[in-house]
């Protein structure tokens, strides 16, 4: 009880909690769940973009995409490490992913159908992710906060690269390329809005999460911020957003926008999006196919250790 009060006091003072510090079990569990879910999102997120590495249209774009997907793997690595400081191993977290117990961001259950999807994912999906994640740089758990600082910096870079690639296509490209960009925007816009989670009325803010700095704005507040930030970018780009109800509300000084298809949202979260089965299947296959490699590495280490002892 005393420890708990001390913990709360440190939180109130804005101190970082570190791995060696005492923390309430609920805090630990909440963090492990959130951080591992975020880590899983990074590595599952490598798949839709990875799908285009071998087909990137120029060597420059290929290098950018390769580096981006690699960065996502790196984010996964920091995040698994941050979660491991809380006493859960990476293998345990991966088991939870592979068995379907753990979640990852639903956005990755949509397919990348054209090259423009790569740019649009950078612009909208990374944009939404940043909006969600920036507050986490001030989260109370030190290792997580530090990982998020680095991740957000890299994500911003990716977002700019994605947007820039779309600008090139819209400004210098052919009619077919422009149509491709518009089509990708049409497909990704609504799923991007869903990245902020259910409407506030269906998602009572956890006061705890707010206190711990894991959450600072509500889902709807973040979604509104995202829409307001994105509309002028779309105009600059020269694409329309696929929402006839989207318009500036001079009174609110915010954009009004149409109703999200929550049925679709819950369907995809519930495992029935277009790619849920394939994404998980791909991860499980990579893991299972790699089992002999991981076993061999252990066997090798044991052998050499035995020999060193014998020598």
């Amino acid at each position: 009880q005393q420890r708990n009060e001390a913990f709360e006091a440190r939180i109130d003072a804005g101190d970082f909690i570190e791995a060696k510090d005492w923390m309430p079990e609920h805090y630990r569990k909440t963090l492990v769940r959130q951080i591992s879910q975020h880590a899983h999102s990074e590595i599952v997120g490598m798949l839709p973009e990875g799908n285009w590495i071998t087909r990137a249209p120029t060597l420059k774009r290929k290098a950018i995409l390769l580096a981006k997907v690699q960065d996502e793997g790196g984010h996964g690595l920091y995040l698994y490490s941050a979660a491991e400081t809380l006493g859960t191993s990476r293998d345990q977290m991966l088991d939870a992913l592979h068995s379907g117990k753990a979640k990852y961001s639903s956005i990755f259950n949509y397919p990348t159908l054209t090259w423009a999807d790569i740019g649009v994912i950078g612009w909208l999906v990374d944009g939404a992710a940043i909006m969600n994640q920036v507050p986490l740089c001030r989260c109370s758990y030190g290792p997580y906060a530090r990982a998020m600082i680095r991740i957000c910096r890299e994500e911003s870079f990716h977002q700019r690269q994605g947007y820039e690639s779309l600008l090139v296509m819209m400004r210098e490209g052919t009619a077919a390329q422009k149509a491709m960009v518009q089509d990708a925007v049409n497909r990704w816009w609504w799923p991007s809005l869903m990245m902020f989670g259910p409407a506030d009325k269906d998602s009572p803010n956890s006061e705890q999460s707010m206190r711990w700095g894991i959450k600072r704005l509500t889902n709807d507040e973040l979604r509104q911020k995202f829409v307001d930030a994105t509309v002028p970018q779309a105009e600059l780009l020269g694409v329309t957003l696929p929402d006839p109800d989207l318009k500036w509300n001079a009174q609110r000084e915010q954009h009004d926008f149409g109703a999200i298809d929550w049925e679709e949202f819950w369907r995809v979260v519930g495992g029935n999006g277009p790619c849920n089965t394939e994404r998980l299947g791909t991860r499980v296959k990579a893991w299972d196919d790699g089992a002999w490699v991981r076993e061999a590495a252990l066997a090798h280490a044991r052998k050499r250790a035995t020999e060193a002892q014998a020598a």
């Binding site: 071998t54 793997g73 196919d289 002999w292």
Partner: protein, 257 residues
């Protein structure tokens, strides 16, 4: 710009494309692992290696494009040649195989590229020499990384030993192309552009034998057929690789990316 380009017959262009295409195509195959590796650390390591090789390819293709009869840029050369004008050794285009195959090929390639880049640092072409100076550092890491895996798998479990030995067996028939001589190769040595590939063999042998010994793997026997990817005679895998790689450039003529 979907019509094919021809790199032309100049010996120095062909010599540089042989190396550049080797890097380009090997990078392609390695990149197929991203998101599918046995451990996350390998997604990163293989991503790194693919990126380095891609950078080397871009530099060499750019240089080769400047030296041709008509100037061509890296993307025209990478995306708009017909298969018969890609000049990488056949080994680089073989499907990625299992993880043992990939690491074995990476080792073979790195043990070949390391002495090659080392000598290219003294190229009579200052651009090429500068490219080589950067590449040699990268490839040293590639060699080390692949060697670690070849040792780990070669002297790991019974299954990994079998897989690694099989991988070497499958790859070996493609090795002698890496050291074969022809007029292009001779011209490069004569002009000082780069070494005759046969001169790389002793270094390669020494590096490979050291790793194989540590991995307790048997060195496969040499085979008589010499593949001729360097003269554009590829395997049936190359066409499939190119249909993937070239798709967007071919399908969107005049596109700006």
């Amino acid at each position: 710009m979907s019509t094919s380009v021809q790199p032309g017959q100049r010996a120095e262009v062909q010599y540089l494309l042989r190396v550049g295409d080797a890097c380009l195509v090997l990078s392609h195959r390695i990149s197929e692992w991203i998101g599918h590796s046995p451990v996350l650390e390998e997604d990163l390591a293989l991503g790194n290696i693919a990126l380095d090789l891609l950078g080397q390819a871009r530099a060499l293709l750019t240089r080769a494009g400047q030296l041709g009869e008509a100037p061509l840029d890296e993307d025209q050369l990478a995306y708009l040649r017909e298969e018969r004008h890609y000049l990488n050794p056949v080994m680089m285009e073989l499907p990625r195989g299992d993880f043992a195959f990939t690491q074995a090929r990476n080792l073979i390639a790195a043990c070949w590229l390391l002495p090659l880049w080392t000598r290219l640092q003294a190229s009579s072409d200052a651009e090429v020499a500068a490219i080589a100076a950067k590449a040699v550092k990268e490839v040293r890491y590639h060699q080390q990384h692949a060697a670690e895996w070849v040792v780990r798998l070669g002297d790991g479990s019974a299954e990994s030993t079998r897989r690694m030995q099989d991988a070497l067996q499958q790859l070996w028939p493609y090795v002698n192309e890496l050291f074969a001589a022809d007029a292009i190769d001779a011209a490069a040595e004569a002009s000082g552009l780069g070494p005759a590939w046969s001169s790389l063999k002793p270094d390669w042998d020494a590096a490979m034998d050291e790793v194989l010994a540590e991995a307790r793997l048997a060195r496969p026997k040499d085979t008589p057929h010499v593949y001729a990817g360097v003269r554009g005679i590829h395997s049936e895998h190359m066409g499939h690789l190119l249909s993937t790689m070239q798709h967007l450039q071919r399908a969107y003529p005049g596109g700006v990316w």
